[in-house]
Symmetry: C2
Subunit: 192 residues, 2 copies
DNA sequence: ACCCTCCCTGGTCGATCGTCCAAGGCGAAT
DNA sequence: ATTCGCCTTGGACGATCGACCAGGGAGGGT
């Protein structure tokens, strides 16, 4: 037997999934109560029953997606045998993304919304810091110079490449990896 | 004597400036006819007199700002004596930006809006292509390997760094330049 | 003096917005 | 069987939205 509470949680999840889709399709500030409910297949009133506001729902949905992506990248960085391997595997995960794919657009939408929502900014800032730290640990283990700054730039470069792919075709696969590899193969003398 | 046509053009410019401000403050899809008019200090009806729609006004405003930034970077790339110098000067132009400054936010907002507006996507895509080409020419002149892919990655890295700065503090100035310099100082043997 | 053209005003239109709420439904506990 | 607590429904509220337009006003050409 399915309890009412279980059905309630499932509705919550459906609303979160609908929010993630609609942020991408319409843009953060254009996601409305009624469209959310329709996409989730529930009555409009349920949105404000399960969440205090539409904005709170969007924030929770975005953070959840970011968390799931972070959960995928973490083991890659922790288990790599070399900085080269970590880079290659990481790029492989994003190589099918063309900048207009749901995940890429959602991330950028969340970044922007974070400039206008302090809670979201803090949540995403912590996750970015965590990713940078994991990446820096990976680079430090494999003797890359200035691992902290390198990790920050590498993370930024990946996001930037995805951002630019939405506008115009850019380097993919091997060509992209070859350029980015310069960041992690320079020895300690790379820093002046 | 100020003719009516001159005043009309000035109102148009005021609306474009107001649009650029409001896109940053409120987000692309949250800029409304009436707020635009109020910020520009004109009657609401003028928005749809000078522009066919609010969306058209936003697109024109974003493209105009992008063009003015491109006009600032172009001479830097063309006149640099070395790839190092071009990189340093370029970074200097963006070093005061913290990711929440008007120009950075406007660019990202425009990138996102471009995924939902084909005209804007094409306009920004052309400008990105032009910037990449200028940067690639600069790199090629100073014997950097694989200038096209390097230029694309470098451009993406700069945008990515600005994007991430909005979420968390990142490398600035010398530390940032030191890492990015690896991209442009690797010789032809850098590509395996 | 006339008209023509363009700029501008201020308000109306139907649609849609976020939020809230009274009332109904239904399993679980008493 | 009754009560309790949570989930759910569908609509009401005032505010605001983009787009539109009838009409006023003021130079410039005739």
């Amino acid at each position: 037997m399915v309890t009412a509470a279980q059905r309630g949680q499932e509705v919550r999840q459906r609303l979160l999934r609908a929010a993630a889709e609609l942020i991408v399709e319409r843009g953060w500030t254009a996601v409305t109560t009624r469209v959310l409910a329709q996409r989730a297949g529930v009555a409009p009133g349920l949105v404000h029953y399960h969440f205090t506001s539409v904005q709170a729902l969007l924030v929770e949905a975005a953070v959840e997606v970011a968390r799931s992506v972070a959960a995928q990248t973490a083991p890659v960085l922790a288990g790599a045998d070399s900085a080269d391997e970590a880079l290659t595997t990481l790029l492989g995960m994003f190589d099918t993304a063309d900048g207009t794919d749901p995940t890429s657009v959602l991330f950028v939408e969340a970044y922007l919304a974070a400039t206008r929502d302090e809670r979201l900014r803090q949540a995403l800032g912590e996750m970015l810091g965590q990713f940078r730290r994991q990446l820096a640990d990976c680079l430090a283990t494999h003797a890359v110079a200035d691992p902290d700054a390198t990790a920050a730039v590498l993370a930024a470069a990946i996001d930037g490449v995805l951002l630019h792919r939405a506008l115009a075709a850019g380097p993919h696969g091997g060509a992209l990896a070859a350029v980015l590899r310069r960041l992690v193969t320079a020895g300690p003398e790379g820093a002046r």
